[in-house]
Each structure stands twice: as C-alpha cells, then as structure tokens.
Amino acid sequence: MNAAAPPLALLAELTHRCPLRCPYCSNPLELERASGELDTDAWVRVFGEAADMGVLQVHFSGGEPTVRKDLERLVAACGALGLYTNLITSGVLLDEGRIAALAGAGLEHVQLSFQDSEEAGGDRIGGYKGGHAKKVEVARLVRKAGLALTLNMVVHRQNLHNLPAMIELAVGLDAHRVEIAHVQYYGWGLKNRAALIPTRAQLDEATAVVEAARQRLKGVLVFDYVVPDYYARRPKSCMGGWGRNFLNVMPSGRVLPCHAAETIPGLRFDSVSDRPLQQIWETSDAFQRFRGTGWMPEPCRSCDRREIDWGGCRCQAFAITGDAARTDPACELSSDHQRIVELAQTESDRAPPAFVYRGLGAGAARTEPALSEDAVPGAGRS
C-alpha cells in the first residue's frame, strides 16, 4: 500500500528572500535565512538525483528565485539532465540581460505573478511600490525573448472585482496561459484569511467569468482555475496525493511532500544534505506518514473517491481541526465540514481586516489599512 512510485515533479524553493510581501505567500511563517541556503553544487547534485529517480519537471521557485545569482547555472544543469525547467517569479528583479541569459541557459517556461490588473491594487497587495509596472515590462521582455509565458493571478476578495481585466491583461501581454488561483489558506494565507476570503456569491461570479473567458479564448489562452475549497463539496486532490507525484526541496535542503507540510507538528523531515533524495522519498517519516490510503480514517477509508482525492489536504485538516489525520473538512462527508462553511461565511461577510504582510518574524510584519474608500496605497503602519 505504501510503495512509492517515483515522483514526477520537484519544486525547488531556492530561497525565501523576496522583495514582495504578499499577504498570502505560500512560504512558511518562519522564513529561512540566506545563510542557510544550499549552494550551487548541492542543488546540481539534487537535480541529478531527481532525474535518476524519474523526476521530469523542475519548478524554480522561492521566495524570489532570481535573487540567486546561480539561477542560470541551475537551469542549464537541469536542461543537461533532460529535466523540463519552469521559472516561477515575481519578475521585479529581472531585466532584458538576465532574461536573455536564462533563455540561453535553456529555460523552457516562465510563470510571472501579478497581484492585480492595475498598479494601485497590485502594488498595495504585493507590498512593493512600482512592482506592477515592472511586471508589465518584464512580461513583454519575456515574450520578446521567445519564452513561453503563464501569468499567475492569485485572486481573493480584494481583487476579484478586477478579474475580467486580469484576463484581458494576460491576452494583451501575449501570454500562453493564465493561472487564476483563489488563495489557499495555509501559512500567511491562513493568517490573512479574513482579509482574503471571498463570499460565496463572489466565488460563483468569478467562476462564471472564468468559464465564459475559457470558451471565448479557446486556442488563444489556456486557463488553469483553482477554487477555494472552503466552498467545495469534495476536497481537492492535494498535490495529487501525499508523496505520490511531487516533492518540495526547501532553501536549506529539507524535503517536504508539499510546501505547507511543516505546519503539521510531529512530522520529521530529512535533508538532502544528510540522505539521498530517493531514500528520503521512499522511506522518510514525513513522506510515509500520509502516503497511500492506509492512514485514512472513515469516511475516507471506505469512500469510492479515496484514490481520486487521496483524502484531500492534510495541512488543511490540521489547520481547521488540529489533527492532520482527520478527513479534510472541505469534504461535506466530514463531521467538521460545517465549521469550515461557517468560517467562510462569517469572515467573508465582515469588513476585511488589515493585511499582515509577509516578512521576517511574523509578529513584526507591517500591516496596512484594508481596502476602503480612503485607503492610501503604500502607506504602511505597524
């Protein structure tokens, strides 16, 4: 039951350093410092081990992966191993020369994040003045370099009114694909949930907008759409199943089944500095704990969807119930489901609180007035 087929994809979190401060950042609340990051040789060795295991794709992420001066070398190393290379970036540190160098190294695809369709909202949500304009420029440069482009749009109650404009932005910037992802509530997103979670009506309208645009733009723009599962009837197949397809290597080299797995207490994570990647994948405590179906409680254990959604999300089960081994509360068969529905309804009906921006030391992060008539973009207060 717990036999591990080889993984398909590796997310390389090269660094947690990032100039942006998005309040839904998927990095942990406790960010890793630059001094603890794996060096170039260590990453190259990890990619070699990954390719040997059967990994096909590497996603360079962070933090902001372009902070790393050795990114071109890492991209080229992956290319030489036959790995598909994808850069997930905020774009704000890129210029024409760096983009050319990355293209020259063999980079195959760029995912560029936008925080909104326009400057005021984008700069306020990302917590970085001038960010939006820079991203627009970088999108053009990426396409000019002949690289394929996906725009990543994270959506929530404070930017959903601009969803049609976000889609138009993607078309206007000649993107091949747009990923419209509602915030998922872990780490920073969980901390800011009340400021981010849409109402049911907002979600339904967004879904209708995406479906209409998907039909209208067939052959022009590919859509990926991720819904907030607080409003779902069945849980998402999180990561395609724990320890089934995917592994995540942190800046320091710890290997996780998903980027949020460290929020679950009591799991032991091994590092690529101590053990070979394959051994970690096959035998480490963190990967074995929720792999397959053997760990499942009822109603998952006898559910005919147990090998479709793999029990949903362990981090969410922990975040809502305090027990990572419970059924994902997003499932309406869960005895905790009513709690998640009530949380979503209560929080989305209230005025949004101020953002807690991402930063070193979660308690010290700066906040800013929430969306309102008199909110001043960029005017932070602590």
Partner: protein
C-alpha cells in the same frame, strides 16, 4: 503566436516551443511536458503528434497514416483534425496556413 484553432487540410500543426514531447525512460512511455502538467498520448495520438513537425500539412499527415494503417482516408482525416484541434485548445499545438 497564439493562432486560432480553425483546422483544415492545408493547416500545418506544430508544437508550441514550450511543449516537449520526450521519452520517459524510467516509465518507458512518451510524455508531453507542459508547464505544471503533462499529457500521456495514446498510441494513435502519438502516431499523429510525431508527425506534427511544422512542415507536414494535415493532408500529408493523413496520407502517411492512411498508407501505414490501411484505413479509409476520410475516417483518418476526422481523427487527425479532431486530435489537432483538441491539442491546439490545450495549448500544445498551433497551426499555420501554408
């Protein structure tokens, strides 16, 4: 770039540059690698996709397959058009008129 999806006999299908048809040695199967996803073409799809080289027209691909599989040309034409259309909508292929 990002051409529409109207397909006819003279259309020339080709892979988007970021879509990579590669043989997965570990799992012994052909795979189309795409951003954050992969496609696993079946044998028939593979016969068609491997001929989408940016030179061959739909008509030429159909002729080649009709020769190889001894099936009626119009049946193969339908299959090829449908598959190319489908993969164009998924952003894997695009077509250019000759």
């Amino acid at each position: 770039m990002n051409a529409g999806v109207a397909i006819d006999e003279g259309s020339v299908p080709r892979f988007q540059p970021h879509m990579k048809l590669r043989f997965d040695k570990k799992r012994e199967r052909w795979t189309i690698l795409a951003p954050e996803r992969l496609f696993l073409p079946d044998e028939i799809a593979l016969e068609i996709l491997r001929r989408c080289d940016g030179v061959a027209t739909i008509g030429a691909i159909v002729d080649a397959l009709a020769g190889k599989f001894d099936a009626p040309r119009d049946v193969i034409m339908d299959d090829v058009k449908k598959l190319v259309q489908d993969f164009a909508e998924k952003g894997v292929l695009y077509t250019k008129e000759r």
